[in-house]
């Protein structure tokens, strides 16, 4: 029960909203994508260029004023055709950065040019959406990203969990009397000691 809740807290859908960075030079399109994302219960940051996106992500050399947690972006949605830096160029910069390459990037375009789509997907774009983007596109995208994030978290959790449990059990045994009751399986209802130690453990990023 408590342990299962703990596991639930680590999943994005329960603990946090998806934070989406939307990049588009069109004011009209920024307003629309912002609304689509808010209706889909996502936190949105909308910027008008690739350069501003990189600034926000802290990738342009200048230190971002936001803390890492607030900054954490779960998805980047960028227009393809933008003056200055295209969405494709932005995609390359993100995928080329060790800090940011894991963030899924989706390209949006009004033009359905197959060579363009192929190039973007090859460069690591998660999806290519045709504009105008619809609510159904965003909902489907959100589910897809959440599933991916949850899979990642479960994998990390399982790895972390087995390590931390061993460590914490050793710590607990010093201060608590019921050490022999601590179960070896991850999901157990009678594990208040386990719960306390996990609570002290920092949130898995």
């Amino acid at each position: 029960m408590e342990v299962e809740n703990m596991a639930g807290d680590y999943s994005l859908s329960d603990a946090q909203e998806l934070h989406v960075l939307a990049v588009d030079d069109s004011h009209v399109d920024r307003k629309v994508i912002e609304r689509l994302l808010k209706i889909s219960c996502c936190k949105v940051t909308a910027v008008e260029s690739g350069r501003m996106a990189l600034q926000y992500l802290g990738l342009d050399g200048e230190k971002s004023s936001l803390g890492i947690d607030e900054l954490k972006v779960n998805l980047i949605m960028t227009d393809y055709s933008m003056p200055g830096m295209t969405g494709y160029e932005l995609l390359k910069k993100i995928k080329g950065s060790s800090a940011l390459s894991k963030i899924p990037v989706v390209i949006m375009s009004s033009e359905k040019i197959l060579a363009r789509i192929d190039r973007c997907l090859e460069e690591g774009a998660k999806e290519f959406l045709q504009k105008p983007v619809k609510l159904s596109d965003v909902k489907r995208l959100k589910d897809f990203i959440l599933r991916g994030e949850n899979d990642n978290k479960e994998t990390e959790q399982m790895k972390e969990g087995s390590c931390s449990r061993k460590r914490k059990i050793q710590d607990c045994s010093l201060s608590l009397t019921q050490t022999h009751d601590i179960p070896s399986s991850p999901k157990c209802s009678s594990a208040p000691l386990l719960q306390q130690s996990l609570l002290k453990h920092p949130k898995i990023a």
């Binding site: 069109s26 009209v28 399109d29 307003k31 629309v32 105008p132 619809k134």
Partner: protein
């Protein structure tokens, strides 16, 4: 009550005429569906942004068309933006003119560009007038109930 129903019916007919006459397409309906009690003027807000963007682009294109020789790449770029925002609000006829203009640009057809641009400005002006009247009407009588009434 009778009069109110009549006004709502008028508004519904006006709205329907935009689709029947090809001024607006499905995308406009997509925007309407994003509206709710917390955001009751969303569509009008987006359309207002469209007017702003359009005014800027029309001005830029007008100026660019005065230059000799024409910079077709620049013109195509402006038109791409115009087409994008027209598409985003469902401005069907305006979008068609944008597409036509783009084709003349790529063909390097000066007369075609100039002629199409005049046509585009006309379509834009007509649409803007219709939409302004429509949103004014909406504000006067309140939003349309989208649930269908039994006859």
């Amino acid at each position: 009550m009778e009069r109110n129903h009549h006004l709502h019916r008028q508004l519904a007919n006006l709205r329907q005429s935009f689709f029947d006459q090809g001024y607006l397409d499905e995308q406009f309906i997509q925007l309407e569906e994003l509206q709710d009690d917390a955001n009751p003027n969303f569509v009008e807000e987006v359309v207002t942004l469209f007017y702003k963007d359009s005014a800027r682009l029309i001005h830029s294109i007008d100026q660019a068309l005065e230059k000799h020789p024409l910079d077709f790449a620049k013109l195509d770029s402006y038109m791409h933006q115009f087409k994008g925002s027209s598409s985003s609000i469902g401005a069907k006829k305006v979008k068609i003119e944008c597409t036509q203009f783009g084709e003349y640009c790529r063909a390097g057809n000066v007369e075609g560009c100039k002629r199409t641009f005049q046509q585009l400005k006309r379509e834009y002006a007509v649409l803007r007038k219709k939409l302004e009247a429509y949103f004014q009407f909406v504000r006067q009588i309140g939003p349309i109930e989208t649930a269908s009434r039994p006859n």
